[in-house]
Each structure stands twice: as structure tokens, then as C-alpha cells.
Symmetry: C2
Subunit: 349 residues, 2 copies
Amino acid sequence: MAIGWSMSSKKITITDVAEHAGVSVTTVSLVLSGKGRISEKTAVRVNKAIEALGYIRNQQAAMLRGGGSNVIGLIVSDISEPFYAEVAAGIGEILDGQGKVLFLTQCGRNGRNLDRCFDSLSAYGVDGVIIGSGRFLNDVVKQKARDVRLPLVCAARASEFDDIDVIRPDNSLAAKVATEHLIKHGHRQIAYLGGEGGSLTRAERLGGFCAALLQYGLPFRPEWMVECDCRQQASAQAAQELLTHNPEITAILCHKASVALGAYFGVLGTGYTVGKDNNESYFTRQVALIGFGDVPEAELTNPPLTFISSSAREIGHSAANRLLQRIEMPDEPPQHIILPPKLIARGSV
Amino acid sequence: MAIGWSMSSKKITITDVAEHAGVSVTTVSLVLSGKGRISEKTAVRVNKAIEALGYIRNQQAAMLRGGGSNVIGLIVSDISEPFYAEVAAGIGEILDGQGKVLFLTQCGRNGRNLDRCFDSLSAYGVDGVIIGSGRFLNDVVKQKARDVRLPLVCAARASEFDDIDVIRPDNSLAAKVATEHLIKHGHRQIAYLGGEGGSLTRAERLGGFCAALLQYGLPFRPEWMVECDCRQQASAQAAQELLTHNPEITAILCHKASVALGAYFGVLGTGYTVGKDNNESYFTRQVALIGFGDVPEAELTNPPLTFISSSAREIGHSAANRLLQRIEMPDEPPQHIILPPKLIARGSV
DNA sequence: GTGAAAGCGCTAACAG
DNA sequence: CTGTTAGCGCTTTCAC
């Protein structure tokens, strides 16, 4: 009748461990943190007691008196946006190796809760915070961070601030590299497909795109830079239209993975083929494609599309590392870390 | 020379507030938690002091003495997997409305860190934990949860346990509903495309699929249930092969969004069309498509593919709500919450 | 090397 | 309605 049942409900504290090991709480604490010089023998005894009792140190209490909490806060608008999910994963990877953990908050797609998120993180005693969607970051929060001396770094998709640490991809360079790649493969008539007018990311990329065109003395055609809904079908249609109305176009730079995928099928739909024909047998018209992508291993691998990537995961890595540094040295001037793009050639050029 | 500079670095405590407001700490505490009945006047005075000083309550200290921490722990293998990201977002939405927050941990794609994640959450005093990837959940962790009396619920993609709360989609029913939908639209030769052999989710769906076939007296064809790489191109090829080798097939159930998308283009690639022709002019062969999808608003909307969804976000909602309930009433027997599927008809059938 | 004691900021009795 | 007081579990001087 399950009488000898484990009544273990009582919370086990450092005191219990000390008792069990026949030492003082101080000693246990010292062993836990590896600080004071403890004799090998007692250390072993203490550890054995910890094991036996299944003791788990109460971090809340620990940080109350001591210094850091080993918790990092993250604010994103919505974690289900792949970019932020990827950044979060990257941050997690770094933190993991450092015995630190991640506090996740979502401020909503409109950023409404940003202030509340920040206060929340602050209240829970995080050692620093990383903010994803920098576009919502306002001066109130920045000031608050300064007031409570809470390190704040921004993991962004585009350039945003100059008064805090920012980690971001080099959109402009990425576009330039991609465009040059196309030019070097003989393309002279290049279009840019996708994105919305108001997007900073798009603006930066178009900047790089134009820069490359100008540098190589190629014509600059506003009507070849077309916005479109990012969904595949829409992109496919847009690509098809673009190609039929402008038969001279031989290459398209695609604003994101789904656009590239759409364009891929759009090109096929026009009866053209994608990529360069290695055998130099130019019987059917070919269109080259390069897509921008945050998430290397994803959709673009199959069909094999050449793409230019600024890994969101790496942004997460850098942001985490930067924050950790800043926690150590809070008074350094803020810096921008701009991640270079990587071009992955895979046959569609 | 910035001499009168804000020296606000000192941490502001409840005591400071009490002093500033000319009341005792108790009163402040009471105002903060809205517990004791405090006179309107003092409440206002206290709030004013809080405002003036920019006081932020130290949650760590609060929970040390009091009960809950208002923190919920989440363990997923990798937050960048869209399913988990979506679940996390759903959880966040619920918690947000309750003044609670989310602690995110990642146990790695192989689940290696599961134990460590759990201990971490436990150490930080979460009120309960939601585990995503249940497939990694082991008895050690379950026992540990019981020992420390930490409510544990599992937000899963498929059925996994019976000794803890589980929230999961009804894969079998979803497949059944989808299949019946096809049958009712006159289809008799239906294939299932995608997924990997070892997948529990797939097994459950195939179960529902077969059940529906049998129920309607339709033939059961193992060779029409084909596995395939989930990437688009692979799926497109697989669909094309399937259709050319088996000309009698008129409908395909697709294991996930990317497979459906691939199949869509695969069908077009064979020269057939997708969907039902409303004008009853059956000149070209048509193939109907239904995809499974976790994320309603995503890829399947365009092209307009009919799909059957078990919203990952809703799983997050339910999991959060269930956990909150269980925190209130820890001794209820564990229950399974099985979310019904939703069929969204959009023209591809 | 190890222990005793004083808090960290807050809440929860119990008095007034 | 409001104040006094005693801890929550842990770290950290400062003695021994």
C-alpha cells in the first residue's frame, strides 16, 4: 500500500547539504562556487551530500546577495518570425557554453509591449538584454537601460542606431557582392525583385545593387526594381511579368528565399531555364537567380539556388558574445559589428 | 562639466519608496501586490513615489519569500524549428496576458541537454515547465519533476506519454478528415506523399488515412504512400514520378507545407493542373492536393492550397493554459488535450 | 581551511 | 488600515 512512499516534497537547501556533510553552509557555498580554497576531502564529502540529496541550488537567492544572475534577456517582436527564431537559437548556443540562460519576451508585432518587456527583464535581474526588432527601440527604453546600468545590445536586420551596440548584416555589401557576381558571369541586365517599399533592409540592398551597377558602368533601371508580395505564387507571377515585359533581363536578385523560390518557378513557367548552362549550348534563354537568405540550410538548397547569406544564427552568436563582453566592460563606447555576407554558389547563376 | 550629473546608479529598493512616501515597507509591498486593503490616498502616494524614483520591484527577492515566481520554463530542442517557434509564440501570448514570463532553454537537436535544461529551470524557480520535443523526455526528468513538485506539461506533435499532461494535434483525425474531404469530392485514387519512415507523426497520419480509405471501401495501396525529402524540389520530383508511374492517382495528401508546395509545382511540371475545375470542363487531367500545415498564415496561402491544420500556435496556447491550471491544482490526474484539425479549403481540391 | 554572523530585497504573520 | 519583525536561501566579510 505504498506506505514507505518518498515524502521528499520538502525543498532541499544549502543548510541540509551542510548538515548531511557535517560542515558549515559557508563551506558548501564555497564548494558550489569553487571560490574559497577547500580541501579535497571536504569538497568530495560535500559533493557526495549534494548528490545524495538531489540538491539544486536556488539561483534566485544566490543572485540576491551576489552579483550576476547569469540570465540574459531577449526581446523580439514575435519569436515565430524565422529571423528572430534563428537569432534566438544562436544566442542560446553561445549562452549554453557559458552556463548562462535565456529569458525570452515578445513585444508584439507592433512593438507595443517593448517597455513592459524591458521592465520585466529588469525586474528579474537579467545581466543584460539583447533586443531583436530594433525598429521599436525608443529613447525611453534606452535611457532606462542607462539608468539601471543594464547592458543593451541590438541584433538587427538593418542599420538602426549609433548610441548602442548593434550587430547587423551588411545588406549593402551583400547586394554589391551578389551583383558583382552576376556581372562577372556576364550579366548586364539585372533586376531586383521583392520586398516592400518601406523596408530599410531593402533600401540598403538596393543601395548596394545600384552602387555595383554604377561602378561597372551599367544602366540603372528603376522599373527593374520591383516590389512584390513575398509569397511564392505572387513572386512567380511578378518574375514572369518582369521577364516577359523586359526580354533583355538575364538575371534577377531576389529579396528573400520565398521570392527566389517563386522566381525559380516563374522562370520555368515562362519556358526559360534557370542558371548557367555549363556546356555552353545556349539553345533556350537562361535566367540567373540569386536570393538573399538568413537561414543557410533552408529552402534554397533544393532547388539549388545560389544565394547570398547573412546568417541570422551568426548574428545571434555575435550579439551574445558582444553582450557578454559589455557586461564585463560596461563603459566601452558602443560599437557596430557588421557581419560580412557569404555567397553560396549553387548553380542558379 | 557635467557635475550635476544623475548619480542614479544606486539600486532603488522598496525601502526607498517607503521612505519617500512616508509609509512602511509593508504598505508599499501591499500596494505592489494589491493584496491588503490600502486606502486610496496612501496607494496614490506610494504609486507616486514609485513613479518618481523609477522603482522596479526585484522579482527575485519577491519570490524568495513568497510563492510563485511567475516564470514559466520552456524546453525545446531548437527554437529555430518553426513548430517550436510557433508554440513558443503561442505560449508567450497567453503568459503575457497573465503578467507571467517565459524562460527559454534549448536542449539541442539530439536532446542531449534536456536534463541540464530542466535543472536550470528548476534552479531559477520557475512555476512550471512546458517541454516541446517530448521525444527526448526521459523518466529521470519526469521523476525529478515529481520530486520537486514542478508541474510539467508536454506540447507535442504526436502522442507520446500517458503519465503527464500532453497537448497535441489529432494527426490521425486530421488525415481522416482530409481524406474524407477528397473522397467526397469524388477522388478514389489517393496518395500520401512525404515524411520519413520513423516519424510518429507520419505514422499517425497514415493511420487516419488508411482508416478513411477502408471505411469507404477504397483500395489500400502501400506503393502510393511514398516517403520523400521535405524540400521542394525533391517533393516536386517525387510527385512527378508518382503521377507518371500511376496515372490513375487523382489526389495527393502532402505531409507538410513544403511538400505540398513541391507537389504543386510537380503537378504543373507534368502538364496537369491542380485543383478542381469549377466549370466542369475536364480537358486536362487535374490533381487535387491537400497539405498538412502547422502554421496557418504561411506558405500555403499562395498558391492557394487547401490544407488541414493543427495550429502550432494553438498548441502553445493550450499548453500554457493547461500548465497554469495545473499550477493551481497540482494533484489532478494527467490529461491529454487533443486539438481537432481545421480544414481550410482553398481551391486545390 | 573552515565557521559564525550579517545581510541582499522582499513578503507574511502578527500586532496595533 | 498600517507598522514591526522575522525570515526566504544564499554569499560574504571576518574571525578562528
